[in-house]
Amino acid sequence: MVEFSLDLIGMLFGALLTLMVFSYVIKDNVLFRIAMYLFIGVASGYAGAIAVRNVILPALVDPLLGSGGLNVLGWEALGTFLIPWVLAILMTLKLSPRLARFGSLPIAMLVGVGAAVVVGGGITGTLIPQSLAAADSLAPENIFPATGEPLSIWLERAVSALIVLLATISTLVYFRFAAQRDLTGSTRRSRLTAILAYIGRVFIAVTFGVMYAGALTAAILILGQRFEFLRQVINTLIGGS
């Protein structure tokens, strides 16, 4: 006899939602939409609850409640308590069309700080290191074989370095859209640029193909996992285990 517990009810509810989503195979129907609305609503509500519990309460409310509010009067509270409160109040003014302009200050601060962090991280974490990596791949110690190194390893490393160099240059050339204008007025790339751009387009196509294959692989794996889950539910209902 199957014992109905919260875990079993949750499992049954999950299986039901899975079937409702799979019903999209037939066509867009009410069951699929109900499942989608439910997922969106639950996710939003849960995110709101997490934000209140993990952000608002510890950052804004707990300092008021802790130590009877005396720690608010200190200088340390200026940066850790008062400024966040002011910014939060200004942000809530966005709800009023008349006072919305006052909410632009925290928005500007968020956008400015976020952009600075992302751009700075991109430069120091991606652009410079990747450029140096591409340049180091052509260093003599990487091109020429080391002492006692098998030829196959050196050949593999050399070919890899050449492929990296060719892929990097050709891909950058493909995104260089400058061209000369001929007598007829049409623009044409030079022969060398056209060849390199074509090679770069091949590398880009291969990259996107790999990404698509990986996404397809992940989708198939998720599909299999879902059907495995349905099988477990059926086994539980039938076998009680």
Binding site: A43, R53, D62, V113, V117, G125, A133, G214, G224, F227
Partner: protein, 740 residues
Amino acid sequence: MCSTLNPAEAETCVSCGARLKPLVAGGAHPEAEEPRFDDLPAGGEGEPDEPDDWLARIRAGVSEEPEPEPEEPPAPTYSETATGSPEWLSGMRNAEDPYNQGGPDEAIPEWMDEFIAAGEGEEPKSEEGDDVPEWLARVRARKAFQPQEDSDSGESVDDDWLNKLRSVPEPEEGALEELEQAEPGLEGLLPREDQPAAGEPPVEEQILPDLKPGAGQDPYPTPPAIDLGVLSDLPGVPGSPRALGSQAEEQEPEAVARRVSASGFGIDWGEGEGKPPDEGVAEDESGMPHVPALVSDESGERPVVEIDESSLASIELPAWLDNLTPQPGVEQAEEFEQEEGAVEEPDLAPATLPSWLEAMRPVDTFRSEIEIVPEDVQAVESVGPLAGLRGVLMAEPVVAIPRTSSATAARLEVTERQYAQGELLHRLIEEEQRESMIMRRPSRPIPLARWIISFLMLLAVLLPPSFSRLGLHGFSHPVDIPRELVPLQGLVNSVPTDRPALIVFDYTPGYSGELDNVAGALIQHALSRAIPLVTLSTRPTGPPLAERLLSELGAPYAAINGQAYLHLGYLAGGPTAVQLFAISPRDAVLTGFLVPETGGEAALGLGPQARAAVWQHPLLSGINRLSDFGMVVVITSGTETARNWAEQTHPWIGDSPLVMVLTAGAEPLVRPYYESTTPLVNGILTGLPAALAYENLNGQQSSAGDVWNIFGIGMLTVELILLAGALYGAAAWLLSLRKR
């Protein structure tokens, strides 16, 4: 005019019969004893009683010296105010003006009473005293022989403008009473109910009987100056001094007399001249047709009336009087059309203006063609040195005379293209206003290929659990170990067990089917080495996923929350929060998720103490920076999140390795960070095959083995479908080539 030289005594041309000697208006015969200009001042060189001299000069075409302009005739001119003649008479309008063709014959205004009284009491004065001018004597003599019925023709002309005036809508009674009170002099002009009926005799016969010829009095009395009040300067009022005095100053006395007779208040001051201008050519005593000089009746030209605009601006007219004034834009246009239609079409081709000039002209403001009428139709000049000649050019060309824009000028001229565009716009607007019916799209049947693919995929994922029942072996686990797995294994093995490893769950529940299996291999390896685990997530849904996976994987290793692992919870703020966490984890994360208070029991953490207890947990005792963690593992499904962690943490991560657990789709963009000579990512684990290989490498029991067969047969099915589609496309292409 044939230009044939004729003897000086000849009266008519021997060739064409045209009259060579001028005729004098008013019946003066060329052979009359008194010449036409006998009353000119003596200052002129030419003798006025010798008209043949100047006529001979004209015939000879001699124009050596311009003749001095004759001064204004002194005595008999009605334009001179010094003679005692009324000033308003000098300003009489031209008789040809259709709006001033005489005064009303039924309603004599009250102000005329004053005029009549003044006319009876005063005799017209002139410079010569009681001497009657010569021309007036001739007029009187001819009037004596003129039958009475001639005056009827003048009345009929007067009726024309009078009927127009009657047709004007009457003003309101209230306005009339106010006007009477304001302007007593206008009482006679206002319509009254007690006015004589249409069947009664003309009013001028009732109140002006003495002005009729044969009444024993001067039939042409010079009316005294009458104060017309507000109408004294009004040019539109018939007979007002302003309207009448503009032209008479420059015209000859007889011409003035004719126009006075035609435009007066029905007073028959001269028969013959009082004929309506529609008749075009009048006849003088000699029976010769004539027209007033410098005025073309056939063309319908109006004489230019010079109006003192400064005086007009000072006039304040009542509102009802504006309504009484004729509407020139409408009536003049109609009469123009009638007069122009009466002219016969000439035989000659009309002269046309060039197209560019046609385009510049205002619409319907003047005629673009100058009509040349036949010589027979042309009027004969009656006065002046060119009297008796046909085809005399007017003083002003037709096009130079300003005309008022007709009523048709207001009509919009639209071309066919403009009309079509307007119709199109009209239709578009109508269609916009029309309510569109809600059309229910018919449900399209699902393509057969979609059904087939769905069926095959469903069969593929349902079939593997039955492999054992069917006696089939499943897909073997991958034998080849990717080369990045060995360094990863060594990396995890090198992580100290006294320092917790940070595991970031940055994926949504949708990817848990893949990432739980992939990350499970690495987490199992860490749990097998008793490495404390601390979880974190930049997604709100991350902490529950972490708890579910760790509780599932930690069960074989007796790993429970609070002892083997701990959840820091949700890190809000995106890349900025990641950087802040890398710099100072304690400031970035203020509370945890399911942090156990005592023992291993998880608490909801609603109180401040409970939330603050996360950093007081023994697992996090030595953690102040990111580099204090023994290892950082990021489990993510997106390349953006992986790049953020790699970029924002590398300055503060120190010697702690950064490992990426990725989905298969995110690997191509993250791998460069791993394969770089100075890698930001120290280890990478991607996809289910790599996870199985890692488990095999570590000798662990495969947690992903359950879905391996499903994954394998699903991939095989997809490959077969792609192959079938490629073959179908190639076959279709070959068939199309064969058809060509």
